[in-house]
Every structure is written in structure tokens, then in C-alpha cells.
């Protein structure tokens, strides 16, 4: 097993974000079956999961992933900057290379004892909010941006009121986990906090694992669309000679079968028909898009999450 992969069947490595594990457990066998049915050679797909940025960093440092599947485009941009794939990678596949998306929702304890209905309720005194660190998790980044956008799009809202809003919000955060899964464990397993901010696709799993009757979902009046982009890592695939398989694998994400698998795992498919078929699982949302609202991801990163950005200032005196 030491050097498995050097012999025999082709082997793909998919470096993916933390919470996509369940989805790829279903998708990979489906793709392999489809690939073989169309006359493809034997194939196995390895998965590596971790925080989005950590995964991108590993690929940059030499983790030989043929494809990357992330929960925000920023980390794939970083890989592009290192020269492993072209800068215009988003143009290579439909819908800006994002075959699925999700959104940030609230999870509260049964009966919603604190009466949390919308963002405004999160900043009330006495409410404890669990959200992972925006610097280390995509989940945290989306939650932070959604709060910002909500605050400034209210009447009389501006970037200044958004800062004040975020200060109050993070003042209510008792624990800042480094990843989304850690935050869920803190909320569900340790019993800390009144509300958890997380991706819609996590909700189903949380109910399965911790008890469906223990939690309720709250859909806020405005939330963020979180696209899940995918990309071929050209240099690695070329070196390994796996480019055609890797491309087929990525394209498979857009097939009806794969879109169904997305829906089953709580991820919103981009195929309108599939989404409609699962409408019961996906409530209607009032959404905004990071690219439009914040002038692109790299600008959002530089303004908010980089060293000395607005998040650092907000957190500087938000003693929990």
C-alpha cells in the first residue's frame, strides 16, 4: 500500500473542502460506473478533505490533486496564482465552474427559546451565536459577509453601520472554531450557544447525527449564495497523464445524475428542473452574490479578511 497508485488503474485525487465528504462518497462511485459503462479503463478516485484554504495550500505545496472542489473561488484563485492552472479557470465550465451552491441558514434549539427570526436577533444581548472563524473557514467568511450585507442594506445602512453590527455580532460569539464541523460540534454536542450559522447542506446531517427533533431551522430575510466551484489542476493532471479522465469527472458534475446526488446531499443543484423536483427540501431564499455585492472575492478578501482588514478591527475589542 506504500506506493499504491503507481501501478495498474488510473487514479484521480480530488482535494476538496471539509464538508463535501458525504457528497463525494455518493458521487465518485456513480462517476466510476458511468465511466466504465462508456468504455473507460479501470479507475479509482481518492479523496482528501480539509479546510478550503488548507487544501489549496497543500495543492500549491505539492499535493498532487488532479481536481480541486472548493466552497469559494478564492482558494482556487490562489492555486492559479501559483501557476498550476490558468487564471480564467472559471470560464472553462458552465455557471462559472460551479455545479452547485448552498446558502447560510440559522439553526436554533428546539422551540426556538430565544425567538430568533432574523439577523437583528443575533446581535441582541444575551444571545450566543456560534460561527466559525472567517479567517480559517469558508463557512465563517460567508456568514460574516451575509451579516455585513444585511446591515448595510437596511434603511439608513452603510459600511459604518455594518461595522457596528459585526462588532455586536462577534461580541455575542463565545467560541470561534477553526472550521464549520468544529462549530457544529460545539453547538450540538457541547450545548454551547443559542444559534448556529452554517451551510444549508449541513443541516440535514446535523439532524441525522444529533437528533431531528432537537433543532429547528430559521431562514433569515437575506442570505448569501455560496457557490461551490470546481477546477482541473492542469499541471498535475498533465504530469500524471490524467487530463481526459479528470475533465470527464468534472463534466460529470453537471449531468442529471450528479445534480440529483447534489440535491440528495442538501446542496442546491444548478439544474432548474432538478431543483424544482426537490423544492420541498429547499425553501425559497432572498439571496445576494459576493461577486456583485463586494466587488469580487479578491476584493472582499483584501477588504475584510486579510491582515489588518475589517475583521481584525472588529475582533480587536469584541471581548466575548
Amino acid at each position: 500500500m506504500l506506493f499504491a497508485g503507481q501501478v495498474g488503474a488510473a487514479q484521480l485525487l480530488n482535494a476538496s473542502y471539509d464538508v463535501a465528504r458525504g457528497f463525494y462518497k455518493d458521487l465518485n462511485p456513480a462517476f466510476i460506473a458511468d465511466w466504465k459503462k462508456h468504455g473507460g479503463a479501470d479507475l479509482s478516485i481518492d479523496q482528501s478533505h480539509g479546510g478550503s484554504s488548507k487544501q489549496a495550500r497543500s495543492v500549491i505545496d505539492g499535493l498532487e490533486a488532479d481536481v480541486v472542489t472548493m466552497n469559494n473561488p478564492l482558494d482556487i484563485d490562489a492555486i492559479a496564482k501559483a501557476g498550476l492552472l490558468p487564471a480564467d479557470w472559471q470560464k472553462r465550465l458552465p455557471n462559472n465552474s460551479s455545479p452547485s451552491w448552498s446558502a447560510i441558514l440559522f439553526i436554533v434549539r428546539k422551540g426556538n427559546p430565544k425567538g430568533i427570526k432574523d439577523w437583528d436577533d443575533l446581535v441582541k444581548s444575551g444571545v450566543q451565536v456560534i460561527v466559525p472563524n472567517p479567517k480559517t473557514s469558508g463557512n465563517g467568511r460567508y456568514s460574516y459577509l451575509a451579516a455585513w450585507q444585511y446591515a448595510r442594506s437596511k434603511t439608513g445602512g452603510s459600511d459604518d453601520t455594518a461595522i457596528a453590527f459585526e462588532k455586536k455580532l462577534f461580541g455575542n460569539v463565545p467560541v470561534l472554531d477553526t472550521g464549520g464541523r468544529g462549530a457544529t460540534t460545539t453547538f450540538a454536542q457541547r450545548g454551547i450557544g443559542d444559534v448556529l450559522l452554517t451551510f444549508e447542506n449541513e443541516v440535514g446531517l446535523i439532524r441525522d447525527e444529533f437528533g431531528a427533533d432537537k433543532f429547528e431551522i430559521v431562514v433569515p430575510s437575506l442570505t448569501v449564495r455560496a457557490d461551490n466551484p470546481i477546477a482541473l489542476v492542469d499541471k498535475v493532471a498533465a504530469k500524471k497523464g490524467t487530463t481526459p479522465i479528470a475533465q470527464a469527472y468534472l463534466q460529470f458534475h453537471y449531468t442529471k445524475a450528479a445534480q440529483e446526488i447534489f440535491a440528495k446531499n442538501g446542496l442546491r443543484p444548478i439544474d432548474a428542473a432538478v431543483l424544482k423536483a426537490h423544492a420541498a427540501d429547499f425553501p425559497a431564499l432572498n439571496l445576494f452574490d459576493v461577486e456583485q455585492a463586494f466587488g469580487g472575492w479578491s476584493k472582499a478578501q483584501a477588504d475584510h479578511f486579510a491582515d489588518g482588514g475589517s475583521f481584525d478591527k472588529i475582533i480587536a475589542n469584541a471581548h466575548p
Partner: protein, 301 residues
């Protein structure tokens, strides 16, 4: 031999070090002091060591023995166990050879900068595990010094087994040397001198004189080194790449299971490592107990 102390009648055979306490109460403390101290020690150890250990087993067995054993059926779990054994199987012997060499050079000879060398040997032990992993990325990573060369020759170091072995060697680096050096310092060089003057070769002297003298200390060092090698998390996490079934060690696999909300399997794998720790420590205790006289004799040589 009258038993003066009113507390706990004692079996002298089990107490290689304590015969005096029985005979002379004047150098011991009042019973209430003794009881208080014992109580404090037990409470402290219970809160910090025993309860965490128990909670691992409680969580692992929370859904019954069936669920516990079913946890080990997964192919990913088994490959994680295999990889951990491989990494420890390489790292421990490597550090064993190093520990013997370092101890021999440091304790049998005088040279300048010895204290400095000892400190350098200790260094890995105080380096943050995160940094311990990072240093190998900085060298062997695709953006590192040697990375492009290794990549051109199609040798994978980081995000593959060699990187995991390197990180494991790093974090367990001082364990055996640290155990041997003070022991061999205490033993001195008289035995070796005698053997050499009787015509034994250097190798024979080492094999028949030095090694038997230090074997228990050496074994203890190996056991600790092995336990730490199998349990290392932070450093290995940085260089692993987390590819399921290929580059996940047991501690990394525990984290993955835990993050998948598979608590029983996570703690079941953790309980294996805890068991390993307990077996290690039991082995150590048995050794100390069975060979207490011998140990004491060598230590006081």
C-alpha cells in the same frame, strides 16, 4: 519489625524502596498530613488523567461492544492503522540507532560544546508540532528549496509516506537519547575500560557490557518513543495531505471521523491508542517491578 504506622498494613516485599518508613516513624509525616497529600494527589490525577482516559472509553463503548468492534471494519481505518505502524516502525529504529550513537559519544568522551549538542538534541521536543511539519514543507514542498528537484525525479516526500515518517522522526527525536544519556553518565566508563583491558573489541564491549547495563532504560525509551510516534497529530497533519486510505495516520483518521460526527468510531480508534499507552505503561511497570533490584543495582552502580 513491628508495624508502627496505624495506616495500611504494608507488605515489605512490595516495597523495594520503603523499608525505612516502617522502622522509623520519626522521618515520616503525621498520618493526617500523609492522608491529605495522598488525597490531593489522587484527586489531581483523577481530574487530569483518569477521567479523560475514562471518557475516551465511555464514548467508544457508548453504543455497545458491537458498534465498537464494527468501527474497525472500515478499509480506511485499517489502512490508517497500517500506516501508523509503518511510520512508527521506521521512526523508532532510526531514533534508536541515533540515541545509542549520541549517548555513546556524549557519555564516553569529553569534548567541547557537549552541553550545546545536548540542547540541540532536545530542541525538537519544544518545537511546536505545527512548525515541525512546516519545516519539511518549506524544504520538500513544491515551492520549497529541494521540492522542484524531487518532483523532477518523481520522488514524493511531503503529502506521502516519506514526509509522514520524517515528521514522526522529528517529534520523537530526543526520546531515546534523553533516556540513555543520564543513565550511561551514571554508569561511567569503568566496565568498558575493564572489558577493553581484557582484550575485548570495541563492538564486543558495547554488545556484552554496555548494552546489558542499559537495556531497561533503553526499553523504556523505546516504549515512550513508540507511543509518541503513533500518537503524533499536529506535525503529521501538516505534511500528510489527508488522502483517505493512503496518507491518513490513526490520529488524523480520528479527527476525520470526529468531524464526520462518527463519534463511536472516532473514539474507538482513539481507544486503541489509549490502550497502546496503557500496555506500554503496564509493560514498563512490570519491567520495573520484576527487575527492580537489577534496575536499582545498575542505577546505583
Amino acid at each position: 519489625m513491628t508495624d508502627i504506622s496505624a495506616t495500611a498494613p504494608l507488605d515489605p516485599a512490595r516495597l523495594p524502596f520503603e523499608p525505612l518508613m516502617q522502622r522509623n516513624a520519626v522521618i515520616s509525616e503525621a498520618p493526617w498530613v500523609r492522608r491529605t497529600l495522598i488525597g490531593v494527589a489522587i484527586l489531581f490525577l483523577a481530574g487530569f488523567l483518569l477521567l479523560p482516559l475514562l471518557s475516551v472509553f465511555a464514548a467508544a463503548l457508548g453504543k455497545g461492544l458491537g458498534a465498537y468492534f464494527a468501527s474497525f471494519n472500515s478499509a480506511d481505518t485499517q489502512s490508517a492503522i497500517r500506516l501508523t505502524l509503518i511510520a512508527a516502525g521506521i521512526a523508532v529504529p532510526a531514533n534508536l540507532v541515533f540515541g545509542l550513537c549520541a549517548a555513546w559519544a556524549i557519555t564516553k568522551f569529553e569534548f567541547r560544546g557537549k552541553q550545546f549538542l545536548i540542547t540541540l538534541i532536545d530542541l525538537p521536543f519544544s518545537v511546536s508540532p505545527v512548525v515541525a511539519g512546516l519545516i519539511y514543507i518549506l524544504i520538500f514542498g513544491a515551492q520549497g528549496w529541494a521540492g522542484p528537484w524531487f518532483s523532477a525525479h518523481d520522488i514524493k516526500v511531503v503529502f506521502a509516506v516519506p514526509g509522514i515518517v520524517l515528521a514522526t522522526i522529528f517529534v520523537t527525536f530526543p526520546f531515546i537519547a534523553r533516556e540513555l544519556i543520564p543513565l550511561m553518565q551514571e554508569l561511567g566508563t569503568d566496565d568498558e575500560q575493564a572489558a577493553l583491558s581484557l582484550g575485548a573489541s570495541g563492538w564486543q564491549t558495547f554488545w556484552h557490557v554496555t548494552l546489558p547495563n542499559v537495556k531497561w532504560g533503553l526499553l523504556y525509551g523505546v516504549l515512550l518513543c513508540n507511543a509518541r510516534a503513533m500518537g503524533e497529530f499536529g506535525a503529521v497533519s501538516v505534511v500528510s495531505g489527508h488522502i483517505r486510505g493512503l496518507t491518513n495516520t490513526m490520529p488524523l483518521h480520528i479527527e476525520i471521523l470526529y468531524n464526520d460526527y462518527q463519534f463511536v468510531p472516532a473514539f474507538a480508534v482513539a481507544s486503541l491508542l489509549a490502550l497502546l499507552a496503557l500496555v506500554t505503561l503496564a509493560a514498563k511497570s512490570v519491567l520495573e517491578w520484576r527487575f527492580a533490584d537489577q534496575l536499582a543495582a545498575t542505577r546505583r552502580h
